[in-house]
Amino acid sequence: MDELITHAPELARGFLENVKLSLVALVVSFILGTILVAMRVSPTPVLRAAGMVYVNVVRNTPLTLVLAFSALGLSDQLGLVFSDQPETNSFWIVSLGLGAYTAAFVCEALRAGINTVPMGQAEASRAIGLTFFQTLTMIILPQAFRAVIAPLGSVVIAMIKNSTVATAGGYLLDSAARMKIIFDDTGASIPIFLGVIAAFMALILPIGYFTGWLSRKLAVVR
């Protein structure tokens, strides 16, 4: 118990880094995921193919490879640098990499949601003369988003857990890296491990309950 109390401040700062990484990745992944799903249902075959290739490649690549490649390949070798500060730079590399990875899952969740909207909805909107874009933004997506709140909640939860893989992208300030450094020093400590996972569960469980509650509340009655 003493170890946990001694190291609590740095572990808390590490956990805060995970939250920050997740927030940036959340915004990136939702924007990119929505663009991707629009591409995947668009009338243009080239865009459909491009979206499909992106989703299938990213979804089947380990996140560790994505992040290690972003840090060592994109940043160090190809000169994709966001900041002179190495820590700030790897923060952006990791959060954008995590966002780009999660976008594929967001896209798939939204597409599953689009598939839950009955065909009559799209047909009716076409019948009253709405264009593809209008059909998508006014009729289909609002219903699709409601249907996928719970699956999107799972995607977000997985993303928060995945933010610990930041170590692979060279970002050594998050809670996993800090825990490893402490373990290197003192050996495995059960209180520290329990403390860190308690923090993660305190963040994840409410998100799960909230998205579950919200999806039931907003469910489209058919």
Partner: protein, 301 residues
């Protein structure tokens, strides 16, 4: 709903617009690809000498194949153990005895909620102090993957058994079967068919997550390909990433296709009333474990 109902069969004007859109998107995609090509070119990533190692047999013999074997070994061991764990805890959660059901539920929920990497670190550092010195990288990866994926599979098993129509078990009891017999003879054979797609998708997640071994220096494909090999052939980092990326994607996609095929087959089959079981959502308390019916939900890693 197929995606094509989102738009009408295009008329003359829409056809022109669609062609224009196609041209614009071709230009955009080509520009993006060309931008990547130029970026790589500017840093000399297309030079023959950094790709040349991949044409030599010894590169594959010394680095890539042993790494791939390391990945597959960890994945196979973890897959078998996770399925065992999933079967035991999934059935334990369905038990009529609270003293079995509740602890099993707590274990499953906890291991699903904690980040896998933290679990692997913890096992990696705890193992030497419990079992004496040695290299525990393989053990930590396999054990971590087993606990996490086993817990997810436990939810799949539970959902699978619950998805069997209630009349089936009632009929079993009515002809005088015991609980054990109903589960073994009636429920499980039907549940396994419904669960297959979800199990295979979870195995894709498991195979992908073996790459976490890279962080604790387990000798897997990512490690040999991305850390050891570029050190031996100076500058081959990006070609190495592309090659091992292709291997991972090929492995996982073939497994994903197997899952899709199984799911389609399950959905077609008339014997199964409920349809395939979807992957459990991240929280059991908010409706996971309920038979979702729709197998369209994406896997969540």
């Amino acid at each position: 709903m197929s995606t094509s109902v989102l738009f009408d069969t295009p008329g003359p004007r829409a056809r022109v617009r669609n062609h224009l859109l196609t041209v614009v998107s071709v230009v955009l995609v080509a520009a993006a690809l060309y931008g990547v090509y130029r970026g790589f070119d500017a840093k000399g990533q297309w030079e023959g000498k950094i790709w040349e190692p991949f044409l030599r047999a010894e590169t594959w013999e010394v680095y890539i194949i042993p790494g791939l074997i390391g990945t597959l070994r960890a994945a196979a061991a973890a897959a078998v153990l996770a399925m065992l764990f999933g079967a035991v805890f999934g059935l334990a959660r369905l038990s009529d005895h609270a003293w079995i059901r509740v602890p099993a539920g707590v274990i499953v929920e906890v291991f699903r909620a904690i980040p896998l990497l933290l679990l692997i670190f913890f096992i990696f550092y705890l193992a030497p102090s419990v079992m004496g010195g040695g290299d525990y990288a393989f053990f930590a990866v396999v054990f971590g993957l087993t606990l996490y994926n086993g817990s997810v599979l436990a939810e799949v098993v539970r959902a699978g058994v619950l998805s069997v129509a209630r009349g089936q078990s009632e009929a079993g009891y009515a002809i005088g079967m015991r609980k054990n017999q109903v589960m073994r003879v009636i429920l499980l054979p039907q549940a396994v068919t419904a669960m297959m797609p979800a199990i295979v998708s979870q195995l894709v997640v498991l195979l992908k997550d073996t790459a976490l071994g890279y962080i604790i220096a387990y000798v897997d494909l990512l490690n040999t390909g991305f850390r050891i090999m570029p050190a031996a052939f100076f500058g081959s980092l990006i070609p190495a990433a592309i090659v091992i990326g292709i291997i991972y994607v090929a492995l996982n996609m073939s497994l994903s296709y197997l899952a899709t095929w199984l799911e389609r087959r399950t959905r077609r089959s008339r014997k199964l009333a409920g349809g395939p079981v979807g992957p459990p959502s991240a929280m059991a308390a908010v409706g996971a474990g309920q038979p979702t019916g729709g197998g369209d939900l994406p896997m969540v890693d």
